[in-house]
């Protein structure tokens, strides 16, 4: 569009770099990037950043096509069919932990990893088998292809297929459904867990940031910002800003994410965890 660089002359700027960045993709990451972009533009008024959602799949395919500068994703590009990960450069900007959540009246607070797997593959169907109430288990899954689901299934299901069940595509809806449907179970990123739902411990490990940082809590993933090839100019500057302490120490925590700097381990695209 023709009107991107005509106006900003009046404001003082600490940088000469100008340009227009569009970042599209993961809805989970969107608020963080949006807020960071707002702060960033205060000092870089010649750089115009548009942040949009659309889903990780959209983010990855658009950045691969070159339609946008940055593709936000909850999963590794390698995990997504139809994406040529070699063309893309990964910038991990945060870590997010996920936990199984159940409706409060299920009466269960802790499960083993194996029990969890059996619930989601449809082998355990009543909470009383887990020491809870005599109530049918209603599994609420995330949409196929969602980053959260991919992470959850990689950590829990061990290659087995999930039972056919309800599916929802957003964290907010899942949270609402689990909190209002008796016997419901699903999983959420830590940031969406509140006191209306019960977050389960697994094998007596609590879902906390600390437990994620040393991989005691196994269900976690990175938030990625992908660029096509190495980022240049404005994009490079913005991504650098995302990784800076300004963002990592404050915004990331505010949003309920874990800073990559705090992690004691690292994970690769195949899910192998190694010490940092």
């Amino acid at each position: 569009t023709g009107c991107s660089n005509s106006s900003t002359a009046s404001k003082s700027s600490s940088s000469d770099i100008s340009g227009k960045i569009t970042a599209v993709g993961s809805t989970a990451l969107q608020p963080l990037v949006e807020k960071a972009a707002g702060d960033f533009q205060k000092d870089n008024s010649k750089i115009n950043i548009t942040v949009q959602g659309g889903g990780s799949g959209t983010g990855l395919s658009q950045v691969q096509d070159g339609s946008v500068k940055i593709g936000n994703s909850d999963i590794f590009a390698e995990q997504k069919d139809g994406i040529d990960a070699k063309k893309l450069v990964d910038h991990k900007v945060a870590v997010v932990g996920m936990a199984p959540v159940v409706n409060k009246d299920a009466g269960v607070k802790n499960v083993t990893m194996d029990q969890l797997k059996q619930i989601f593959t449809g082998k355990i169907t009543n909470w009383k088998d887990l020491g809870g109430k005599d109530e049918k288990i209603t599994v609420v899954n995330r949409a196929e292809g969602s980053g959260t689901r991919a992470t959850f299934e990689a950590a829990v299901l061990n290659g087995e297929k999930a039972v056919k069940s309800q599916e929802q595509d957003s964290n907010g809806t899942v949270q609402k459904i689990v909190s209002t449907t008796p016997g419901a179970i699903s999983y959420l990123a830590f940031s969406y867990i509140n006191d209306k739902v019960e977050a389960l411990s697994i094998d007596d490990v609590k879902p906390t940031d600390d437990n994620v940082s040393d991989n005691k809590w196994k269900i976690w993933s990175y938030e990625h910002m992908y660029t096509k090839g190495n980022p240049k100019d404005a994009t490079e500057k913005f991504i650098k800003y995302m990784k800076s302490d300004d963002v990592q120490k404050k915004l990331v925590k505010d949003m309920g994410y874990i800073s990559t700097n705090d992690m004691k381990v690292q994970k690769d695209a195949k899910g192998t965890v190694t010490d940092k």
């Binding site: 990780s56 096509d65 069940s165 309800q166």
Partner: protein, 309 residues
């Protein structure tokens, strides 16, 4: 010869105005046709790719009930079976229309034939107001009121076709009502006079004369209502359960074409089978609404008296 004679032969301002008007109108309709063609081409090219490029068999797509476009079954065929969603979409649309039509037409009759001016004046803006409530809001109200209500009465989770139908019922009610009001209003006053003068009661006049004369318009209203029900996603998605299962009853979780489409589209990569498969759903949607249209048109034409001028 004279002035008038030459003017008869020459074009005038009126001719130019008419030409101008025609150009405008034809270009507008042309633009719309172009747009429709574009969208159709776009959906068809993506939707058909599932069958042409990804080798899914069309018949399996229509008749199987496993939907996991990312995976293959034990014979190595992609699992792209849309039957449960087709059935569910049909069910909620038809049920919602069946439920809403009597209410909508009742309300429309009330507003045009029975109520005094004040009653109609009050009802009209209220009904139009409902059109503007975002789907999400309907969805959330459905989730917080209708789903627990159904759960309380019928047991189960409360998610399912019934909840979807009820939400859609409320959503299409204003559309059908206000379009019905328009078509009832356009029935000439003298029809009512003629019928009343013959000693027909108000109901006989409404039922046998007015509704009959307004039938095509009422059908159009219902079509638009069904179209809205059909294309609705965000609200239905929250209350129908979104499980790709053959609906066994009205209260088990199910999934419509649109809810599936909306849920998954952002998580798939353009050009891959999971993405194309979703566009195939959109294509089915398009065909279904075409079908509805043709059926209703057919009914409408039969109900109409011939050689009217």
């Amino acid at each position: 010869m004279d002035d008038i004679q030459t003017r008869l032969q020459k074009s005038s301002r009126a001719t130019r105005q008419d030409y101008f008007g025609k150009v405008i109108c034809y270009s507008c309709i042309g633009l719309i046709i172009l747009l429709v063609a574009c969208i159709l081409y776009f959906i068809a090219s993506k939707g058909l790719a599932t069958f042409t490029q990804n080798g899914v068999k069309f018949w399996n797509f229509l008749t199987q009930s496993d939907w996991k476009p990312g995976d293959v079954d034990k014979y190595g065929n992609p699992q792209v079976g849309a039957l449960p969603m087709i059935v569910t979409s049909f069910s909620v649309t038809i049920l919602a229309a069946l439920l809403a039509t009597p209410f909508a037409i009742g309300a429309a009759i009330f507003m045009t034939e029975i109520a005094n001016k004040k009653g109609a004046k009050f009802l009209q803006p209220v009904i139009e107001l409902l059109v503007g409530i975002p789907s999400v809001v309907y969805g959330f109200i459905g989730l917080s009121l209708i789903v627990p209500f159904i759960r309380g009465i019928f047991g189960g989770t409360g998610f399912g076709i019934l909840s979807g139908t009820l939400v859609l019922f409320v959503m299409v009610l204003p559309t059908i009502t206000s379009l019905s009001v328009d078509s009832l209003k356009s029935v000439p006053m003298h029809y009512r006079q003629a019928s009343l003068a013959l000693g027909a009661t108000r109901w006989q006049t409404i039922y046998k004369v007015i509704l009959k004369a307004a039938a095509p318009g009422l059908l159009t209203a219902v079509i638009f209502g069904m179209a809205r029900a059909f294309g609705e996603a965000l609200a239905v998605q929250m209350v129908i359960g979104n499980a790709v299962l053959m609906p066994k009853n009205l209260i088990s979780p199910a999934s419509t074409l649109t809810s599936k489409l909306t849920t998954e589209i952002g998580n798939t990569v353009m050009g891959t089978l999971p993405n194309n498969a979703l566009w195939s759903l959109a294509l089915v949607l398009l065909f279904m609404s075409l079908l509805f249209n043709l059926i209703v048109r057919f009914i409408g034409r039969r109900g109409n008296i011939k050689n009217e001028r």
